[in-house]
């Protein structure tokens, strides 16, 4: 037998419900904590959602954030947030800072004059500065983007739910989507906890997490569907354990390959996309966990109708009565 890298032994019979008060309960607790941070700390919204202007500066001179801040004082702008950016892909003499500005007047975009005053002040401090990107989002658009993002989340969740309902049963649809929301909310909680910039690409990442995580869950459900037909008298809990054990090797393999790819993006892909890669990385971790420990628990709690008896003279309409697998 040739050597193979194995992430899981050939045959496992782990009882995934054994510590469900720790695993499932822990998940629920984490979700609660995520909501708590979200509610109290709030998210560090980027200009996409808050409106305002960001400047990205690139200089051969080292950056003194204090001096930058001082240069901003007396300039005709509102709040200024300056952060230095570090990245392994930068050259040795590449020093990058992100500067976020808001207008003096509330609910107004930063004007041309305000912006050029700020740029002039920075150039006076360090003539080597180049402004490599400049983005301004007005308050009107930022409000809409919040709405569109929430809409996108809702539409995706409902779409996925409908599809799973069609292919499986409503209990699966509910369990699957609740597991998804678990992944997304905890990821958002992490962003709130660490105050990582939350912009439009993060929403795209959250949507991707929806797609990835359901992918994982569906594979477990698929096996469960098959086994429900095969073992008609086995208790639901045992069929679920069997199905998760049988697919465990695949679940781990896919998570690892995806994590390798996304991890490489996170480390080497540059700072512009780091928040995005980080969100997907967390989502993949959580998605793997939730498809093993969350989704099926919800299905078990709701319970499945596995009877084959026709109801009211009509043939049973649910999936497992008449499946041809």
């Amino acid at each position: 037998m040739a050597w193979r890298l194995r992430l899981a032994p050939e045959k496992t019979s782990i009882d995934f419900f054994r510590h469900q008060w720790i695993t499932f309960g822990g998940s629920m607790l984490l979700m609660l904590a995520a909501f708590l941070f979200w509610g109290t700390e709030g998210l560090n919204y980027g200009i996409d959602f808050k409106g305002g202007t960001t400047l990205r500066t690139d200089s051969t001179q080292p950056i003194d954030v204090g001096a930058y801040r001082q240069a901003m004082e007396g300039q005709p702008v509102g709040d200024v947030v300056i952060t230095e950016v570090f990245d392994p892909s930068f050259r040795a003499d590449q020093h990058v800072a992100m500067i976020r500005l808001s207008s003096v007047e509330a609910d107004q975009a930063v004007s041309e004059n305000e912006l050029s005053a700020v740029k002039a002040a920075l150039l006076k401090l360090d003539p080597a500065i180049k402004f490599v990107s400049e983005e301004t989002v007005g308050p009107k658009v930022s409000g809409e983007l919040v709405y569109t993002s929430i809409l996108a989340m809702a539409v995706t969740s409902i779409g996925i739910m409908l599809y799973i309902w069609m292919r499986f049963e409503w209990q699966f649809a509910l369990g699957g989507v609740l597991a998804l929301l678990h992944d997304v909310f905890i990821t958002v909680g992490i962003f709130a906890f660490f105050q990582i910039k939350f912009d439009l690409t993060i929403v795209a990442a959250l949507l991707t997490i929806l797609g990835y995580s359901i992918n994982d869950t569906v594979v477990v459900f698929d096996r469960l569907r098959e086994n429900l037909v095969k073992y008609k008298t086995m208790p639901l809990r045992d069929v679920m354990n069997l199905s998760v054990n049988e697919t465990l090797s695949r679940t781990l393999m896919t998570s690892i390959t995806t994590l390798i790819a996304v991890g490489s993006m996170m480390v080497f892909g540059g700072d512009v996309i780091r928040g995005f890669s980080f969100a997907i990385f967390m989502g993949v971790l959580l998605g793997t966990y939730s498809s093993v420990y969350v989704a099926k628990n919800i299905v078990l709690m709701i319970g499945l109708d596995r009877s084959e008896k026709p109801k009211n003279g009509k043939p049973s309409d649910h999936e497992f009565a008449n499946i041809d697998a």
Binding site: A2, R4, L5, R6, L7, R56, D58, D87, S89, V132, S133, E134, E135, T136, V137, K140, V141, T148, L151, A152, T156, I160, Y163, I164, R167, L200, T201, V203, A204, T208, L210, G211, Y212, I214, N215, V218, V219, F221, D222, R223, E246, T247, S249, M253, T254, I256, T257, T258, I260, A261, S264, M265, V267, F268, G269, G270, V272, I273, F276, I280
Partner: protein, 555 residues
């Protein structure tokens, strides 16, 4: 025995071959781009090529496909603007220009309606009070007679004006269907004019498209900054020639009814009182070119169309010795005195122009005035350096990710891992081939989407291989195990990928810009990865199996 029909094998091979050939140009991006640019330039020049262009053309063989993936603004650098057109401006203009007609119509019925007076009102609404309240019905009928049918597909049979009464006043405004029709026209005109202006500056592949009801998205790769773009498209360029009533230095002077106080653009603290009704407007220009005046200062020469020339000729011959104002976007750029009647309809605009200003003004006048003002909701400038850094970082990440995943697959599945890796490479080629041929745009999140696909693409293979392992354990024959492995894994693969496809679709329809690029990359990646994982690896395994005829296999 494992066997698929010949046509199926050929089809799979043909698709793979197409993928590799069609994605090749992207590996030689700069060369192919130079080739394409040269080809376009030569075609535009009726087949005549310079030596430089011939050299560029030779950089890429013309029998090869030359479609490239478009790079998004975040990778190429450039300017992005989201503008909101103030469509309501047009209503106000329409209603204002209606007033003389309303006045004349009511004057004809003076004996019944009494004295007619225009009352102050919000823009877009005309309020007229009449002296004799008993004549209201006659007055309304007279005003309604001015309405014409709406010209649009949805508003058939409806009038363009809505006439109501409020006490002694008649209230006239545009009807709802007319507003819709006007909005559509305003947007089309704005789009057309912006396109002409951007094209006149001569940048490559600008994106100018309507977003929603009243917005326009403008993306110009390679342009220095959004401010520059705004200067080109932000000016309304509404040119009029007006009668000058007076000249003052008092910014608070009362211009009197139907006159306006306008600042001079080059003289400080000088204001002109100018009649609102223009003599001729910029719409009647047929041409405008940068030129020089007698003193060799930059100027703009212009030419009117026939009716403009006639109006201008009549006006100048009747007003010799009087000044008239050349007004651009509510500023008087010059107020020359009429020396003699100007017949023939051509003239010259002088002002304190720099050469660049006169050139820009000529471009703006030629392209025409925007029908309404624009507000800029979103402005983004991405420097080309940042874009290049992002491309480099994305490339590194993709290569490292791909090598690491390949090694991992090799370690986990041996020979079968190698098969999956071959499929992975073909998958990458196919993604780029599809993106290039549909003219898709690659953005930074799009690169992330492709990297994510690398990780997820092997998933379908993992599902199949794990299933084959299971089948082998229950002592199926090797060929049977492979066959059942593919069969049984199918439903999981399909379900898992359709759900991800749903996400990609939502991202595409609701996302904008870079996020949309991500959705496209993800969506294409899903389809091609299912194809390569299910069909390509299967074909490879079949060929290998029939060649080696192994009695047992280790997956």
């Amino acid at each position: 025995m494992l066997y698929s029909p010949l046509w199926k094998r050929l089809l799979i091979l043909a698709l793979c071959a197409w993928g590799i050939v069609a994605s090749l140009p992207n590996l030689f991006y700069t060369e192919v781009e130079a080739h394409n640019d040269a080809a376009i330039a030569i075609a535009a020049n009726a087949g005549v090529a310079t030596t430089e262009q011939t050299a560029d053309l030779a950089k890429w063989p013309s029998f090869m496909p030359s479609a490239l993936v478009n790079l998004g603004l975040d990778l190429r650098g450039g300017a992005h603007l989201l503008a909101e057109v103030q469509v309501a401006d047009v209503y106000a203009q329409r209603i204002d220009s209606l007033w003389p007609d309303v006045r004349d119509a009511l004057r004809d019925a003076r004996d019944q309606v009494g004295a007619v007076r225009r009352m102050p009102s919000v823009p877009g609404v005309l309020r007229v009070s009449i002296g004799n309240a008993d004549g209201m019905a006659t007055a309304v009928a007279a005003v309604q007679a001015l309405a014409t049918p709406v010209v649009s597909l949805t508003g058939v049979g409806q009038k363009d004006l809505e006439v109501t009464t409020e006490g002694q006043e008649i209230v006239v405004q545009l009807s709802e269907p007319e507003r819709v029709a006007t909005d559509t026209r305003t947007m089309q005109q704005s789009l057309e004019i912006i396109r002409r202006r951007v094209d006149a500056v001569g940048t490559r592949e600008p994106t100018i498209q309507r977003e929603g009801t009243d917005r326009i998205l403008i993306q110009v790769p390679g342009l220095g900054s959004a401010a520059e773009l705004k200067a080109i498209i932000g000016t309304t360029a509404k040119l009029t020639f007006n009668t000058v009533v007076g000249r003052t230095t008092n910014p608070a002077a009362d211009p009197g009814p139907r006159n306006s106080l306008l600042a001079s653009s080059d003289e400080k603290d000088v204001y002109y009182i100018v009649a609102d009704e223009p003599v001729v407007s910029g719409e009647e220009l047929t041409d405008a070119q940068p030129s020089f005046d007698q003193n060799s200062r930059p100027a703009v020469s212009f030419k009117f169309n026939v009716s403009g020339a006639r109006k201008f000729g009549e006006y100048t011959s009747a007003n010799i010795g009087q000044p008239f104002a050349i007004v651009l976007d509510d500023k008087v750029i010059s107020a020359p005195t009429i020396q003699s009647a100007i017949q023939g309809g051509s003239g010259i605009i002088t002002g304190n122009f720099t050469l660049e200003e006169s050139t820009n003004l000529a471009v703006l006048l030629r392209a025409g005035a925007l029908p309404a003002k624009m507000n800029f909701l979103e402005e983004r400038t991405i420097g080309p350096e940042l874009g290049q850094d992002s491309i480099d970082a994305g490339k590194t990440a993709a290569i490292i990710g791909m090598v690491a995943v390949s090694l991992f697959m090799l370690a986990s599945y041996g020979l079968f891992g190698l098969f999956a890796n071959i499929a992975l490479v073909i998958n990458m080629a196919l993604i780029f081939a599809v993106l290039s041929s549909i003219g898709g745009t690659l953005t930074l999140p799009g690169i992330a989407g492709i990297v994510l696909t690398i990780g997820m693409a092997v998933d379908a293979n993992v599902l199949v291989y794990e299933r084959i392992r299971e089948e082998l354990r229950i002592h199926k024959t090797t060929a049977r195990a492979i066959e059942i492995g593919y069969e049984r894994a199918m439903s999981a693969i399909i379900d898992a990928n359709i759900t991800t496809l749903i996400t990609a679709a939502v991202l595409f329809f609701l996302g904008a810009g870079p996020v949309r690029g991500f959705a496209v990359a993800l969506g294409i990646g899903i389809v091609t990865s299912v194809f390569t994982a299910l069909l390509v690896t299967r074909l490879i395994i079949e060929v290998w199996f029939n060649w080696r005829k192994p009695s047992e296999i280790v997956v």
